[in-house]
């Protein structure tokens, strides 16, 4: 078992849902496949999908919904 980190490539605001009235992309405990979208980072009013480079189980998020993120900051951890 190894712990992998998904980092934000961009500064901005992290969102765990595609829209405020829609369910979260992923929740802790979910199985994640390579390429799965785990959230969005909004930078200057443009939205960028954050995808997982790993497969495994989502341990949890290190950034809350709608919170600011810095480039390189860890957004989520995955166990595989």
């Amino acid at each position: 078992m190894a712990k992998q980190e998904i980092r934000s490539p961009l500064p901005g605001t992290f969102y765990r849902k595609p829209a405020p009235d829609q369910p979260e992309f992923k929740a802790p405990g979910d199985n994640i496949a390579k390429g799965d979208v785990i959230g969005l980072v909004e930078v200057m009013k443009s939205f960028h999908e954050i995808t997982s480079e790993f497969e495994g189980k989502l341990i949890g998020f290190l950034v809350d919904n709608e919170e600011p993120v810095a480039p390189g900051q860890v957004l989520a951890e995955i166990e595989n």
């Binding site: 961009l10 500064p11 901005g12 605001t13 829209a19 009235d21 909004e42 930078v43 200057m44 009013k45 443009s46 709608e66 600011p68």
Partner: protein, 462 residues
Amino acid sequence: MPIHKLLIANRGEIAVRIIRAARTLGIKTVQVHSTADADSLAVEIADEAVEIGPPAASKSYLDVDAILDAARKKDADAVHPGYGFLAENADFADAVEAAGMAFIGPRGETIRRMGDKAAARKAAKEAGVPTVPGSEGLLAGAAAARQVADEIGYPVMIKATAGGGGRGIRIAQNGDELDQLAPQAASEASAAFGDGGLYLEKVIERARHIEVQILGDGKNVIHCFERECSLQRRRQKVWEEAPSPALNEDTREALCTSAVRLASSVGYRGAGTIEYLYDDATGEFYFIEMNTRIQVEHPVTEEITGTDLVAEMIRIAGGAPLSIRQGDLAIDGHAIEVRINAEDPSNNFMPFPGLVSDFRFPGGPGVRFDHMLYPGYQIPPFYDSLLGKLIVKGNSREDAIARLKSALSEFRIDGLKTTAPLFMALASDEQVQASAFHTGWLEPWLEENSARLAQNQGGIAA
């Protein structure tokens, strides 16, 4: 009642612009800001500053209670909303006035009426202003949409009455597409704007976007001529100029007086813009919408008319009558504005919120740069990408383009990518030089010229 202390409920270059206008009028300024903007130029140059919340605009620049608390705490007697954020929020305008302060803009009821696109269209018709052929008010349902569209002819635009700024628009090429898109548009508008009301307009192909600047004091209305903003990417203006190179004197007069008629019919107070589509092929113009605020591109109008629109709107809100008469205004020369955004035009306009390590800004006659930058400024990623507006003026359009090219050749911001190379390429383009463009011209041009945009970002040293 003359204004003594003005609170600026905005950020970025327009906050800087408003502070400068207030200062020339001897008015003190209070700049509200999010935690992400504590080190902004507007905060530095304002007389006072108040932090109103975290970076997210919904918790700071859109938080009406936080803004009004700051205004009371600092004894401000007026609020300027700038553009975007709360600028066209009628409830905010009402709340400011209810708190005993002047709102720098029209009355809440005017914002409400002109902000509702179907109601604005009705007001235009009543004032004898031509509107794009389309539905009479809101559509009653899919069958009604089909009937209207079949009458006016395809393609048609399906628009959300609560939309704006290019949002909530779909185009149907035929009846089948309309049947499919109308329900989607209704549910999307309902989710995005809380109002699923739709109306239809015929698509005017190869149209120019031309808009008239008006000023009113609640009794009298004047116009400050027109601007042309046909160069757009994703319905966002990138290059604006005044006057429009497409109009002859008779059409200009008809267009500008129609705008005055519409604004007069609603007793307009403040600065406003009435937007039209202009059909080169027929010489006809059609009302599309009214913006009840100062616009990003207002400086080109200031340059050709010698006015200070932001100062004038503050004076009007303080109870003064218009200081300019229509007969005092004439078009002097030609002005062009280009929007310098923190975006990489060679990489699909990817946002680039970097650290401004150094810069060289152009100067000389007819060159103005309204911006929010200083060396060492870290551009926050939370807001739009507009860094500043480079405005040039010449005796003729040709002169203005020559000055634009000269200014851009000196222009340099290190540590960022900006849209400046796009404008050098556009200024050098023969069709742009001949003003042979329309609102759909730029996007295909961008695809064909992507290689040219990859060159020359100035002295990038990130």
